[in-house]
Symmetry: C2
Subunit: 344 residues, 2 copies
């Protein structure tokens, strides 16, 4: 199989390599006829420019990268779409890359920046446990998005952060449940031990209970299993089964993610409990499906579109030198739906 290079094309056309390069890259200084001839040979021979070689030379890529932690999270799918659309508007290309749960996102970022000469990075998901020093190495602007609340350990002028305050919003949900008369609120939580959204949301739960002088009952806090998808419906289902079997009394279940809540509802229903008549159920995230199931799920919706748009805008502003790093917190929206109900 013959893989033509730019040299081959040049030779075939009887021109220099730079002319071919100009044809490919839409440079102005080129005779339209020459260009057309070159483009035709390119098509004829199926020439595909080697991106590695291009990136090697290129200084400036007019591109950004989006680094997503946890590809399976449907929550990100929407954000990515919006980000992509916004990038297109600015004539930037977007490199999407996903990182393993156990991979260091800053290391990954370091790599792609070097490889592709990007102008900026958006981190979706993941944690904040990065040293100032490492972050400094990343000498392109970057924005963390949907990252819970702002950690105190790194200097704020190193990076931007956009997201909702998970602790606060979580407390708001529990406030709401308490307002409905619930006091025995069971908690289904994932990844509470790590520095993650799970922990923040659990803290919000504690915070709200304390604020209302309701004693915390540790027997009502159930951790999901580590063996299967942490935020999966299956995990919500199994964990809620355990809760039911524990015999502990409860009038509401609050799960730190909609997927978990959906599993929880199923588990309750199968045990003969009605939702919301016997038990109220609340979730967090506001994923699409939460509004289509029956009963539809009361949850906290994050303003995904708005956040995504602002993330891109902010990043471009920083790239253009128009702005400094910022830390923006959005309010979540409490979506009161069918799965929660006032009690006696």
């Amino acid at each position: 199989m013959f893989e033509p290079t730019i040299k081959d094309i040049a030779k075939i056309c009887g021109v220099g390599v730079s002319t071919v390069s100009r044809a490919i890259n839409n440079h102005p200084d080129i005779n339209p006829e020459t260009k057309e001839k070159i483009m035709n040979t390119i098509k004829e021979y199926g020439y595909v420019p080697n991106n590695s070689a291009r990136n090697l030379k290129r200084v400036d890529a007019k591109a950004i990268a989006v680094l997503v932690k946890g590809i399976s999270n449907p929550f990100f799918a929407n954000m990515i779409k919006v980000i992509e659309k916004e990038c297109k508007k600015k004539h930037y290309s977007m490199e999407l890359s996903h990182i393993e749960t156990d991979e260091d996102e800053v290391d990954a970022a370091l790599k792609v920046v070097k490889e592709k000469r990007l102008r900026g990075i958006i981190f979706l998901g993941g944690l904040f446990s990065h040293s100032d020093e490492k972050l400094r190495k990343l000498n392109v602007p970057f924005v963390f998005s949907t990252a819970g609340s702002i950690p105190e350990n790194i200097s704020k002028n190193q990076y931007s952060n956009i997201g909702v305050d998970d602790r606060k919003e979580s407390a708001r949900m529990v406030d709401y449940l308490i307002g409905l008369g619930h006091e025995k609120i069971a908690m289904v939580v994932a990844e509470a031990d790590e520095e993650s959204i799970g922990k923040l949301r659990l803290e919000g739960y504690f915070e709200s209970l304390q604020a209302h002088n309701i004693a915390i009952n540790p027997k009502l806090v159930f951790q999901t299993s580590d063996d299967i998808g942490h935020f999966s419906m299956e995990n919500g289902y199994l964990t809620t089964k355990k809760l039911i079997e524990s015999g502990e009394e409860f009038t509401a279940v609050y799960a730190v993610a909609d997927a978990l809540a959906i599993g929880a509802i199923r588990a309750l229903l199968e045990s003969g409990l009605r939702v919301p008549e016997d038990v109220s159920v609340a979730g967090y995230d506001g994923i699409d499906v939460s509004g289509y199931i029956s009963p539809s799920l009361t949850t906290i919706r994050q303003p995904v579109e708005e956040m995504a748009k602002d993330t891109v805008k902010l990043l471009f502003d920083i790239i253009a030198g128009k702005k400094d790093h910022q830390h923006i917190t959005y309010d979540g929206e409490l979506l009161v739906r069918e799965s929660t109900k006032e009690i006696g």
Copy 2:
């Protein structure tokens, strides 16, 4: 900001570049002490090898790429996970890349192969409308997965194909509904006009009706809107609303995707119709959530895990020259659950 290259590291360590290279790439011919010293300086200076330069030199990457069309499809998330796991077992790395709906997957494949010197490609989703000629340019083995049924227009020894026969499985679902006594089966279909799974599944519907001598009522076939996500719950919801408003009589709704079916159920419920007492609903795909909603959804489950595993295995076998291209068809599994019911 100083970005050290391999030369800088070599100079700092007082060694040649090749020694540094050997240290990085775990080559055997190197003094352990030298290696340690080099690795330390690398860490100290935060040296990150430039991947573009590496790829440019590299002939053989021990890596494959997975090209996914439609990142938002939760159906693929599972497959990708399995593929990744299998790749790790073989000590291959996996490059995940997503393609726009309107992008040509073969062109995209051509690019990544050149850029990364990959050994093989797995296509997830997407269509088959590619010319033999173009496919031939892709001189690494590739496997199409979950691609519906096999098209006749390209030579089968050019590529492999793994998937379920969407037309047949779709017919099976309709057979089942008819077996329950349903004759007025409404259809919610997406992308029926293109050469896609939507069309195949619709054909299966026609096939089954004809086989049972039931007249096809075009007024019961509803196309989803093109304006919003083709396979989204919202689209299923809105389309079913239209169906209900049309006044056409029906006892069952068959949607060509679970997401659509979930939207359909919601629409029916909101209109005061009970599922399955008044209307049976069936989906297709077997995504996780279909088993957790109430009523749980009768659907066709594709053997995702098995297919993903076999896809990887087959690709590796072809790479190793152990096998020729193959075309494997899996049987779907009819998951009879709560959303369908026998009628008088």
